[in-house]
Amino acid sequence: MSAPLPNFSLDGVKHGARLAVPAFPGFIMFALAFGAAAAQKGLSLGETLGLSAFVYAGASQMVGLEIWQKVWTPSTILTIITVTAIVNVRMILLGATLQPWLRDEPKPRSALNLFLLTEAGWIISTRYHSEGGRDVGILFGSAAILYVVWLGATLAGYFAGAFVPDPRRFGLDLVMPVFFSIMLVPLWKGARPALPWLVAGLVSLVVHALAPGYLFIAAGALAGVVAGMLIE
């Protein structure tokens, strides 16, 4: 049996949206945490929603908050853009795996689908694709509903964060590091693949002690990548 030709159907969109439901809790949690941390950091509602709506990449938004400034300079702008790029460079891999599926798609539709691309949506869609499905509606439907969930939960988190009287008392100033460390658990594939993480952590500590600003994030992450490339 040959695989069906790539196509795009409304049924696929609906089916994709249903397939995305198991990803809701993770999205809601992360967006609530981001919204609360943004309010806590003093971002306006517009800035918070702007980050969620246009950047739409949770890890880089969280790291971005760590570098967020009240008054910007060209160098802090460049820093936040560089760090965002470093955090999100992994998306290149996601896109690369989708390329054969999207080869004959109209470019504007692919441009939209790729804007909405997330790890969760990618996992849902690649599973569908590997089972022989070719309906790009699945990709769009799962991605679009996750986007809406993300924005809604960001909004809810922002107000929850803004109305907590003394955020420090509840540890909310540390939501970002707590959440990030939790995310290490599902990434854990044994001690050996985690060796680059150790390198990244050590390099970031050293750079943090020696250099001002947030260079330690980029330096540590790059050291981890190099370690990953060198370790067979």
Partner: protein, 108 residues
């Protein structure tokens, strides 16, 4: 101050930052599809990219944890432990934040 310096120092600074972040993120999202036919992702590059998410997390949190002191150093391993056992991010986040508030309440 150059015009760009005074521009980003003003009310438009945050917008410029968000626009810049959005632009590089979108470039990352489309780059794989666009350059796939030109650049080969070798096993070596793939290994490096696979190490990236965990490396970013470690590089971001370790200095922050150390700066935040003992409550963070106790609560974060506790949250990771709860996650490893329960696999529920909500419970683990609650455990971590709970531990921090408790330790701070006792003046640690």
């Amino acid at each position: 101050m150059t015009p760009f310096e005074s521009f980003v120092a003003g009310p438009w600074g945050a917008t410029v930052a968000i626009a810049g972040m959005a632009l590089v993120t979108y470039l990352c999202r489309i780059a794989g599809v666009v350059v796939m036919s030109r650049i080969r992702i070798t096993p070596r590059i793939e290994r490096g990219l696979r190490a990236l998410p965990g490396s970013i997390i470690m590089a971001t949190i370790l200095p922050v944890i150390i700066d935040a002191g003992i409550p963070a150093m106790v609560a974060i391993p506790a949250a990771v432990f709860v996650m490893a056992v329960t696999r529920t991010d909500l419970a683990s986040l609650a455990a971590g934040l709970g531990a921090i508030s408790l330790l701070r309440a006792f003046g640690v």
